[in-house]
């Protein structure tokens, strides 16, 4: 019951909220008290992309027990694919007016477009790439890691190393992705100018739509028999082997899907913030994203979305009001949530309802079994 209510509430909040913001931005006069400024629209669009990333992390961490500390890598790769398209879309309007080469390539003296930039002038090519590239990284990574039964903290460390390595690689100019400046100065997307408020509103609503679809897909997956096997793998992996399941295949499927979702989030993020650079790969970003999920409530999907939005609201406010406090605040929140709210903010609501959702309480089950262990 509660789960279905939660689904409806989540979807109405995402879509209703986005539409309301859009209406208040476009239909009210700038002087009105009800008017929503353009920068708020872009800000919300950004939060929605973060929520897509959080959803992706919750799928693997909340349901399959894979604590990823490198999911920002898939988000950034999706973002870079979109960035490459947006760069090519600039065409001859760049500073050097080169119709083929992006400005940064002309600047470092390249004469020809590298092979891996071919095709990115087409939207229909770039769009699937924002999903395919993260998937192509996640697939071999997950295949080796899960087959060798790497799990727990070791896997977390490898994911962290992965995103760090990518960050260092993307910092290099010879990679052909703009080095530490990354890519920016985008002009338009699929022929539509990026610099109008209608486009910002459109992208924000699109992000809300994509988030809703991703949420529904993730929900369907986790409630299927597949999702139940995932939970079984998360809590008693070796037991599932003796039932005839191959945990590595299940993990691989959800891992790759999660990377694809993160990539889509990144692809929506770049046109809204107008820049992509290697700092998106920074390990800190991935860790922060895990905190969003923990704060909202791991293993609940809706919690991940809520956590991403709330923590980022707090970040936006704190980094402008008291910038030096932010890191302490996020660290403190993480500790408090881990200690006192193992099921996150969503857990608070579930605790008030008569019948808590069954598959949504990794923290509670763990706490119970720990309590039993202590009690003997």
């Amino acid at each position: 019951m509660l789960r279905d209510k939660l689904t409806i509430v989540t979807l109405s909040c995402i879509l209703g909220g986005a539409l309301l913001l859009a209406a208040l931005n476009l239909l009210t006069p700038g002087a009105s008290a009800a008017h929503i400024a353009d920068f708020i629209v872009s800000l919300v669009g950004k939060y929605l992309c973060y929520a897509i990333l959080a959803l992706a992390i919750d799928l693997v961490w909340g349901y399959a027990g894979i604590l990823t500390l490198g999911h920002g890598a898939f988000f950034a790769l999706g973002g870079y694919c979109m960035g490459m398209y947006l760069m090519r879309e600039i065409g001859a309007r760049g500073v050097y007016a080169n119709p083929i080469l992006p400005d940064f390539m002309v600047f470092i003296g390249w004469k020809e477009l590298p092979w891996y930039w071919q095709g990115f002038d087409h939207f229909w090519f770039a769009l699937p790439m924002t999903m395919l590239v993260p998937a192509l990284l996640a697939l071999p990574f997950g295949w080796f890691a899960f087959r060798s039964r790497v799990s727990g903290v070791y896997l977390s460390i490898i994911t962290q190393a992965l995103t760090y390595a990518l960050m260092l690689a993307f910092f290099r100019n010879d990679m052909g992705f703009g080095g530490n400046n990354g890519m920016t100065d985008f002009k338009d997307i699929a022929g539509i100018s990026l610099n109008t408020e209608t486009t910002s509103v459109g992208l924000m609503i699109l992000s809300a739509l994509v988030l809703s679809i991703a949420f529904l897909i993730a929900r369907g997956m986790t409630r299927s028999r597949f999702g139940k096997v995932l939970i079984a793998v998360r809590d008693a992996e070796s037991r599932t082997r003796f039932l005839g399941y191959r945990p590595e295949s299940y993990k691989l499927v959800v891992w790759v899907l999660s990377a694809v979702i993160a990539g889509i989030g990144g692809a929506l993020y770049v046109p809204q913030v107008g820049i992509i650079n290697p700092s998106e790969f920074a390990p800190g970003n991935s860790i922060e994203a895990v905190i969003w999920v923990a704060v909202g409530g791991r293993g609940t999907l809706a919690g991940a979305i809520l956590g991403a939005v709330l923590v980022n609201l707090g970040k936006t406010w704190l980094t402008s009001a008291l910038p030096e406090v932010w890191l302490f605040a996020i660290g403190g929140v993480f500790i408090l949530v881990t200690l006192f709210l193992p099921r996150g903010i969503i857990g608070l609501f579930a605790a008030c309802s008569p019948k808590a959702p069954v598959d949504a309480q990794p923290g509670a089950a763990a706490a119970k079994s720990a309590a039993r262990e202590i009690a003997g």
């Binding site: 039932l243 399941y245 509670a364």
Partner: protein, 257 residues
């Protein structure tokens, strides 16, 4: 005696499980030392032995958790289990019950059984399948057998210790294994529960072969089956419980020298 049984079964080729000179060593310590054992189809066998005799290692070898250094483990006519991993062996029809009940705590009793039902184990199947009427009937039966019909929607975490043991047995039955390996099923059970478990195992044995590893002699006696005594990784004696209990070597190993 065991040698004679050995030859005849191998020749007739109808053993269900045949361990042939299996050796496993951990850092030079031989957990199993040329262990040979034969199980007939439909048989129930009790395996006893002091701590460190190799009982658990034997189970690990049969279920694919440990790979032996030398020797073969043949299931049915010609499947060499030493080449397979745990999921493949489980799918062949070998179920294993661990000493500590391991159920999937956040999942409901119903879901625990559902995941255990014999069938396709691929992610693709699991993504798209819906519970069929056949599955529902089978689950109803199982729930009745393990007396958890009223608890079907409760998370397994909420069950008592005894109920979890039963749920796990239900999960094993759901797998429809041809061979069931049971590790110390009555550890920590009351006399009444022990009696009930012996009854349940005898009932399971009507349709499947069972290997029970156990310390509790009274329980082994209640099962009324042939007993294999392991000692230092190989078979010390084999026979009826009475023969075993009067065997001088067994007495020495169990009661100390």
């Amino acid at each position: 005696m065991s040698d004679a049984a050995h030859t005849s079964t191998v020749l007739s080729g109808n053993s269900l499980l045949y361990l042939d000179a299996v050796t496993v060593s951990f850092d030079g310590f031989k957990a199993l030392n040329e262990l040979s054992l034969i199980l007939e189809p439909g048989e129930m066998r009790a395996v006893i032995g002091p701590n460190g005799a190799g009982k658990t290692t034997m189970m690990d070898v049969i279920t694919g958790r440990t790979r032996p250094d030398t020797g073969r483990v043949v299931f049915g006519d010609d499947v060499d289990l030493t080449r397979l991993d745990e999921p493949a062996i489980a799918r062949l029809g070998i179920g294993r019950k661990f000493q500590r009940p391991t159920v999937f705590e956040p999942l409901s009793v119903h879901d625990n059984l559902l995941l255990s039902l014999a069938g396709d184990r691929s992610p693709r199947f699991a993504l798209w399948t819906k519970e069929t009427p056949t599955e529902r009937d089978r689950l109803d039966q199982l729930l009745a057998t393990i007396r958890l019909t009223d608890d079907r929607d409760r998370p397994a975490a909420d069950l008592s210790h005894g109920q979890k043991q039963w749920l796990e047995i239900g999960m094993l039955l759901a797998q429809e294994p041809r061979l069931l390996l049971v590790d110390e099923p009555v550890a920590g059970m009351s006399d009444a529960e022990t009696e009930e478990t012996a009854e349940l195992l005898r009932e399971i044995n009507r349709t499947r072969s069972v290997v029970v590893v156990e310390h509790d002699m009274a329980f082994v006696r209640a099962l009324g089956v042939n007993v294999t005594v392991l000692h230092e990784g190989s078979v010390l004696a084999e026979g009826s419980i009475d023969a075993i209990q009067s065997d001088a070597r067994v007495i020495e190993v169990y009661l100390g020298r």
